[in-house]
Amino acid sequence: MSTLSISVGPQHPGSGHFRIMVKLDGDRIVEALPDPGYVHRGEEKLAEYRNYIQNIPHFERPIVHDSSNILFAYVSAVEDLMKLEVPERGQYIRVVMAELNRIIAHLYYMAIYGIFVGHSTMFMWPMGDRELFIDVAQMISGQRVTFAFLLPGGVRNDMPEGVKERAEKACDYFEKRLVEYEKIFINNPLFERRTRGMGVLTKQDAIRLGVVGPTLRASGVKADLRKDEPYAVYDKLDFDIPVSQDGDSWARAWVHMEEMRQSMAIIRQALKDMPSGPVKLNLRGQIRAPSGETFARTEASRGALSFYLVSNGGMMPYRVRLITPSFRNMIAIPHILKGLLLADLPPAFWGLDYWPVEADR
């Protein structure tokens, strides 16, 4: 069998900082191997040279548009080692930031999805609506993307006045927009034709490959760490886990869409229920974690994100192992791309929400 091998990436409109080596038989993909590493920056090694506070801005770089969620796992790990109990208001603010970030990241996903199926309007709309939530997050933290807002022992500062109104306004507006998104994108017959039945990952395969996040939930596994292993105050909040049984690219887009709705519900509740009080513990001086090890994980926007932290009691971590959801979803890329047409590569691959910076670390 004669095949044509092409490399999609790293300079390719459909790949980003990443390469897929594709072997084509006619127009059909017989083999697709991911070739990551174009953004590998050695985060794990660098963390050994930085102390626990210096690591905070450093660890949000792999997922800049989901920075609160990755820091959530990191600070949980440090707090677990140090046996810290975060004040309740701090936990609520953390949840608000995490959910804002989830919406921001999901909107980025929708935007890129749009451009990958050739729908330029769907690139621009989410990019514009993202700014609303970035505005809210910016009000709270003072930054656009890299908030560095979560610290061991709480959050950096309390919320200013007017966040609640602003956030609710954004949510009100965005709920209306989501209906429009459904009309123009998710339920667009052409989009359904392109993505229904594409890149199917069955429930068994999803479990076997250990994929995480919306990809997993689109395959019919109702697993979400916010419910399964409630951290912070997620057990006090009422929300739903959208699950689809289809396991295809369309289902993944749909799950992202529904999760944004749930995130908005969480934000509303958290802002309503938020108690008053301090937002952080008053930790003085250098933070030193006692020696030991811990494995902390949170549900980031792309799925379960875990930190394995080994400390020897020094100022700096002895070893940090960061496993990101994209890295775990990478294993599904050759699996779902095999047998598809070349034209299905961008939508099927982006359906996984694979973000190379996050996977390479």
Binding site: V39, K45, P62, V64, H65, V357
Partner: protein, 167 residues
């Protein structure tokens, strides 16, 4: 009388007149075209591409200056935006892409990592700035830079093009 010396002066004057009447306006026109038609190469090197996405989004809309959001082929593009960290695996590719772009080409280093390595200054796999491999026209600092900073950098690049001569 027309002898060697005077004819040289005459030719020199003619050249001056030609330059005055043709070259300078032409240069202005060509540079004007280049200023408002900077198409970026779609090369994302790291996490700053998120902010680049926001920059081409509705709120900051760089298409106002004629810059397209994403363009397919590098053969038609003018500006290579280095979106963040360039590591040792990406560096040969960046160089190759730069070499393949047709003249005139401009490079914008976007983000602290592209300037100097940024947060990853001591990493084993990150270049200390992209200007170690390709010449850079405009440096935009920030980690990641805000879209406004990118627009400022874009206007700086436009000013640079405006003042440059046409080959």
């Amino acid at each position: 009388m027309v002898n060697g010396a005077t004819s040289n002066i005459f030719v020199g004057k003619l050249k001056d007149i030609l330059q005055y009447s043709v070259k300078a306006p032409l240069r202005y026109v060509v540079n004007w075209g280049r200023i408002y038609s900077l198409w970026p190469v779609h090369l994302e090197t790291a996490c700053c591409s998120v902010e680049w996405g926001a920059t081409s989004g509705p709120r900051f809309d760089v298409e106002r200056w004629g810059m397209l959001a994403a363009f397919g082929s590098m053969r038609q593009c003018d500006v290579l935006i280095i979106l963040g960290t360039v590591n040792r695996k990406m560096a040969p590719r960046v160089k190759m892409i730069y070499d393949q772009m047709p003249e005139p080409r401009y490079v914008i280093a976007f983000g602290a990592c592209a300037l100097s390595g940024g947060l990853y200054f001591d990493s084993y796999n990150v270049l200390p700035g992209v200007d170690t491999i390709i010449p850079v026209d405009i440096y935009i600092s920030g980690c990641p830079p805000r879209p406004e900073e990118f627009i400022q950098g874009l206007i700086m690049l436009q000013n640079k093009i405006r003042a440059s001569s046409v080959r």
